[in-house]
């Protein structure tokens, strides 16, 4: 990528690596790298910010020097050679590869610049399209959730009788929902219950579809549960309905989990559902990974 046709891009990168800082490089090298930095910085910023209206980025902030300066300090752990090892990382990959040295360095630098821009935008701009707690988190297939939906709260500790009733109600509904799941949905749930990524080739093969379709199938499961809870369960309150729906979901996962052939389960380190329940019992700090 020779922005300045009179300068070897590779030579510029190598000089920067040898000199440790842009200010110690020749003017030609500095100009080349600053233009690279500015191009990348501007491209990423403009993807996220509108360039008209009240939110604009001033010319100074996108100046070549400013963009490169942010790049240099972003990954610096501290002001010693050890603290700037990201440069070794950047160049070692290019050295390890067999060809395209400059392109590989620039690809790595672009990845780093993306993180620089993310931090810049988070701290110095209110992005118009970023959400508040009540705004929807975009979820496919018509299911729309807010951040508050994702954290509905925890079941209030209650007596043994009440807990038994909740469990029985969840079991009943889980059986009904499970009976209505299509095979693809069951595969998605089994994969998640087994700790396998939905994108895995084996999971996709078992489901007989691509990744996007399988993710949609997985999202469908909770949507079916949520609809049934809303329509059939005499439970007041959105948070209460969500918490109960989560109970039903966990029950269905256990049921599917038990249907997986022992061979499949043993090979792929299935989730132990009892552990999931224990983790969720930690007040405020339960963490469930599915």
């Amino acid at each position: 990528m020779g922005i300045d046709s009179g300068t070897s891009g590779e030579a510029a990168w190598r000089e920067w690596k040898a000199q440790c800082a842009l200010d110690l490089c020749s003017e030609r090298t500095a100009a080349h790298l600053c233009r690279f930095g500015q191009n990348r910085f501007r491209r990423y910023v403009e993807r996220c910010l509108p360039q008209s209206g009240p939110v604009r980025v001033s010319g100074d902030l996108l100046s070549p020097r400013n963009a490169w300066h942010r790049f240099e300090i972003h990954l610096c752990v501290h002001e010693t050679r050890a603290g700037k090892r990201y440069k070794d990382w950047l160049f070692q990959r290019a050295n390890n590869m067999g060809a395209h040295w400059e392109r590989i360095v620039e690809a790595g630098a672009s990845v780093l610049m993306r993180d620089v821009v993310r931090e810049y935008l988070r701290h110095e701009h209110a992005i118009p399209w970023m959400r508040s707690l009540q705004e929807p988190v975009a979820v496919a297939n018509g299911a729309v959730l807010t951040a508050e939906d994702l954290l509905p709260g925890t079941l209030d500790p209650s007596g043994e009788v009440e807990q038994k009733e909740i469990q029985e109600a969840a079991d009943r509904m889980a059986e009904e929902v499970l009976a209505g799941l299509v095979p693809r949905e069951r595969v998605a749930l089994a994969a998640r219950a087994s700790g396998m990524p939905l994108s895995h080739a084996g999971v996709l093969k078992a489901a007989g579809c691509g990744k996007t379709v399988l993710y949609t199938a997985y999202q469908n499961i909770f949507r079916k549960i949520a609809v049934r809870v809303r329509e059939e369960a005499e439970i007041a309150g959105a948070a209460e309905q969500t918490v109960f729906a989560l109970h039903v979901y966990e029950q269905i996962k256990k049921m599917v989990h038990s249907e997986i052939s022992p061979e499949f389960r043993m090979r792929h380190f299935s989730m132990d559902m009892e552990d999931v329940s224990v983790r969720r019992g930690k007040a405020g700090y339960g963490s469930v990974t599915s």
Binding site: Q92, N96, S110, L151, A169, G202, I235, P262
Partner: protein
């Protein structure tokens, strides 16, 4: 008529919801920026790759930057080296984001962007040889080491996190549609690639639900060894596996890895048991291994062939 129970919910705290909102914002921004990369810096033609040579000696307490892997679009992977046991080191990766995603991610007090969040859930055990393919960039402070120890102990227990650390971890993850599940999946894959491991790609045979796996070779052996009688039994958390520990024979105890039905399984072959007392087991072979007698007096973990760590709980 169906009787519906009365359900009462304790709402999540404003602080938890605020932390989730901040993480979701960072995630959304990251997604948007990645989408904008489409088509640029692609490398359609295959390139050869040679690994880097070994670097500096590894010490517990190091913060290290792993040598780059083959994936062009992965950023640098920084890890904290927390413990050593025999030839294995326990490493905890730092995250890509500034906001911790879950309660098992901890926001450090460092200003340096790459070292802001420690992802304890993604801890691995690596050999010294593998870990020398990295650069030392800094060291954990005494305070950080202590905080990591407290967090590790908390993850093993059912106690509440000390308030001093509680505000610095992420919010609970409870909803199946929470995008943090995708994030966890991505970060697992990213560290796998950085370590040169593609765990799932190495597995073969994916039987569909309820269909017999005729290619499965794992459960052929159902001989139940006794070795002088069982001394203890453990569950391997987050798996369906069990550890059966037999009474000592001299200085060592034999350990058998089994499924819930008690059948020996070989899924952990190549892995090890790793103790906080600085001891390790023999390499697991054919579902069996051996540990020093003192092993059982300390906290220990199972380390699978990928280096992934699993906690155990006395059954």
């Amino acid at each position: 008529m169906t009787r519906w129970p009365f359900i009462k919910v304790t709402p999540s705290t404003p602080d938890q919801r605020e932390r989730l909102a901040r993480w979701l914002d960072e995630w959304a921004l990251d997604r948007r920026l990645r989408e904008s990369d489409g088509g640029v810096d692609d490398f359609p033609e295959p390139v050869s790759f040679q690994e880097g040579k070994a670097g500096e000696e590894v010490r517990p307490g190091d913060i290290r930057l792993l040598y780059p892997g083959q994936e062009i679009h992965d950023g640098p992977a920084y890890v904290a080296v927390t413990e050593a046991a025999g030839d294995l080191y326990l490493i905890i990766p730092f995250g890509r984001f500034e906001e911790p995603a879950t309660p098992e991610e901890w926001r450090t007090e460092r200003d340096a962007f790459p070292l802001r969040v420690l992802c304890l859930w993604n801890a691995r055990a690596l050999s010294a040889d593998a870990l020398t393919r990295s650069w030392r960039v800094d060291c954990l402070t005494a305070r950080e080491k202590e905080d990591v120890r407290i967090l590790n102990e908390w993850m093993e227990s059912e106690r509440a996190l000390p308030s001093g650390l509680a505000h610095a971890v992420g919010p609970p993850l409870v909803h199946p549609l929470d995008p943090r599940h995708d994030y966890l999946e991505e970060e697992t894959g990213r560290l796998d690639r950085a370590l040169g491991k593609d765990w799932w790609a190495e597995r073969d045979g994916y039987p569909a639900l309820n269909e017999p796996d005729e290619s499965a070779l794992l459960l052929a052996a159902d001989k139940r060894e006794t070795y002088g009688g069982e001394a203890a039994r453990y569950r391997v958390l987050q798996t369906a596996l069990r550890l059966q520990v037999f009474r000592p024979e001299g200085d060592h105890c034999r350990v058998r890895i089994s499924d819930r039905a008690g059948e020996t399984v070989t899924d952990l072959d190549g892995g090890m048991l790793y103790g906080t007392g600085g001891t390790v087991s023999d390499v697991i072979r054919k579902g069996l291994t051996r540990v020093p007698v003192s092993f059982l007096e300390s906290t220990f973990w199972v380390v699978d062939p990928r280096g992934r760590r699993y906690r155990v709980k006395r059954a």
